[in-house]
């Protein structure tokens, strides 16, 4: 009996099929990303030993980087959208962006630290990008806590959006302040940082690998984003139904 109802609900849910497909795609994408990063890409020729092996983490680092940025951009868009339109759809986009973005931002931190140990001989340094990324994570953890402390849905959405905007304004300041400090983070796509340690130039197979992994991580991001967004929408629907029942 229970199985029939759950089957029926699966059939009546138009998103069930597409989401399942997206999940499978995201799983495959991760396999492809690992294959591309570990097997397909050629060794970095200017590095040797542990550094050469550690360099391969760069592909995953960049994958997380792009998706985290995507999440935070969506959170700003969602916040502005809410303040202009005052509909909770926008607020859910903002919340999902922050949550999924923070997840990938932790990915940046972890992959970065593992790479930094053999290359910079330290897990951690107050480099501008590291500083900015850390502070951004702290800001968005604060955002999630702040949401948690408010009950009224619209007040919560409004205040969280306002905070997200203020926090967003402060991020470039953090970056530029930290940048005036000495920087040792390699700028792979700019090549302008003479003090950078552990740099490597992008060869043809590296460039291809990068495109593959970033695409794969974006698919994973989309799957996670969609699931969380839908979950929040369903929660809101339940809230609405409960309100109707009370009426």
């Amino acid at each position: 009996m229970a199985t029939t109802t759950s089957l029926q609900s699966k059939r009546s849910d138009p998103w069930y099929g597409p989401l399942l497909t997206l999940d499978v795609l995201a799983g495959l994408a991760m396999v492809v990303a690992i294959w591309a990063g570990l097997l397909f890409a050629k060794d970095a020729t200017n590095l040797a030993g542990d550094e050469q092996i550690a360099q391969r983490i760069f592909y995953f680092h960049m994958g997380c980087n792009i998706t985290a940025t995507l999440g935070f951009l969506l959170s700003v868009i969602g916040s502005v959208g809410y303040l202009v339109r005052r509909t909770l759809v926008w607020d859910r986009i903002a919340q999902t962006g922050v949550e999924v973005g923070t997840l990938f931002a932790f990915g940046i931190m972890i992959t970065g630290s593992i790479w930094a140990k053999p290359t910079w001989n330290t897990y951690w340094t107050w480099d501008p990008r590291l500083t900015t990324a850390t502070i951004t994570i702290l800001i968005y953890l604060a955002y999630m806590l702040f949401r948690n402390g408010m009950d009224n849905r619209h007040t919560r959405a409004r205040f969280a959006s306002i905070y997200a905007l203020f926090a967003f304004i402060s991020v470039p300041f953090t970056y530029y302040s930290a940048r005036i400090f000495r920087s040792i983070h390699p700028i792979v796509f700019d090549g302008a940082n003479a003090d950078a340690q552990g740099s490597f130039s992008i060869g043809p197979s590296m460039g291809q690998t990068l495109i593959i992994t970033i695409t794969c991580f974006t698919i994973l991001f989309l799957a996670l984003f969609f699931h969380r967004w839908r979950q929040l929408s369903l929660e809101a629907r339940i809230e609405d139904l409960k309100e109707e029942l009370y009426q």
Partner: protein, 228 residues
């Protein structure tokens, strides 16, 4: 009394207002009006939504549904300037207990841009029998004195609309008598007064109409038009 001069101007109009706290609906569908020179009493048990309704009328809360009009201005579209026309006595005194009575009224006089505030403040404090205690911090006042200061605060700028949320709270018999007198004078002066209470007797004594707020609605049958 308002009907003496024929057609009375409607000052407060509430139309199909609904509001909820969290999931719980407090007001379901409230409609009524108060005319100039009229006192309306809002009766209802504790938790019936009287305070919620008054906060909406004062512009402190936005209703979930429905409209409120002050004069011919919809409250939702009005700027903060409309607040000049409303005075509120709330459950909380809305005065600063670290300041004295005089400083409190001086502060609010500045917030309402009163021209020549001093004589007005003196008149209000004298009428509220607080003039002798004007230099004492509010935290040394008794409950009744604080309530009188709160009433004084609400009429300081002489608004055409007065919202009194259980104004008799904490007042002794003598002060209630003067409050009754004040309400009568406000009516005579053409102000629109909405007063909440759960005391039937006082509602009858104060008001021209009595609305009964039950279960978040005011039903037509609950309106008692008094013969004066």
């Amino acid at each position: 009394m308002a009907s003496e001069n024929g057609s009375a101007e409607t000052i407060v109009r509430v139309h199909n207002v609904a509001q909820r706290y969290g999931r719980k609906p407090v007001l379901r569908d409230v409609s009524f009006q108060v005319n100039a020179g009229e006192v309306a009493a809002l009766l209802g048990a504790n938790g019936a939504g009287k305070t919620t309704l008054l906060r909406i009328l004062a512009g402190l809360d936005n209703p979930e549904r429905g409209e409120v009009w002050l004069g011919n201005v919809p409250l939702a579209a009005a700027g903060h300037e409309i607040r000049r026309y409303v005075g509120l006595v709330s459950h909380r005194p809305l005065v600063y207990d670290n300041l004295n009575g005089l400083e409190n009224l001086r502060f609010f006089a500045r917030m309402y841009d009163l021209v020549e505030p001093e004589p007005r403040i003196e008149a209000v404090l004298t009428a509220m029998d607080l003039w002798r205690r004007r230099y004492d911090p509010v935290r040394t006042y008794s409950r009744g004195m604080i309530q009188r200061l709160a009433i004084g605060r609400s009429i300081l700028h002489d608004p055409p609309v007065l919202l009194l949320d259980e104004p008799d709270t904490g007042l002794d018999q003598e002060s209630v008598a003067v409050l009754t007198d004040l309400i009568a004078q406000l009516r005579q002066g053409g102000r629109a007064v909405l007063v909440t209470t759960h005391n039937w007797e006082r509602a009858e004594r104060w008001a021209d109409r009595v609305y009964h707020l039950v279960d978040g609605t005011i039903e037509d049958g609950d309106e008692v038009l008094k013969q004066r």
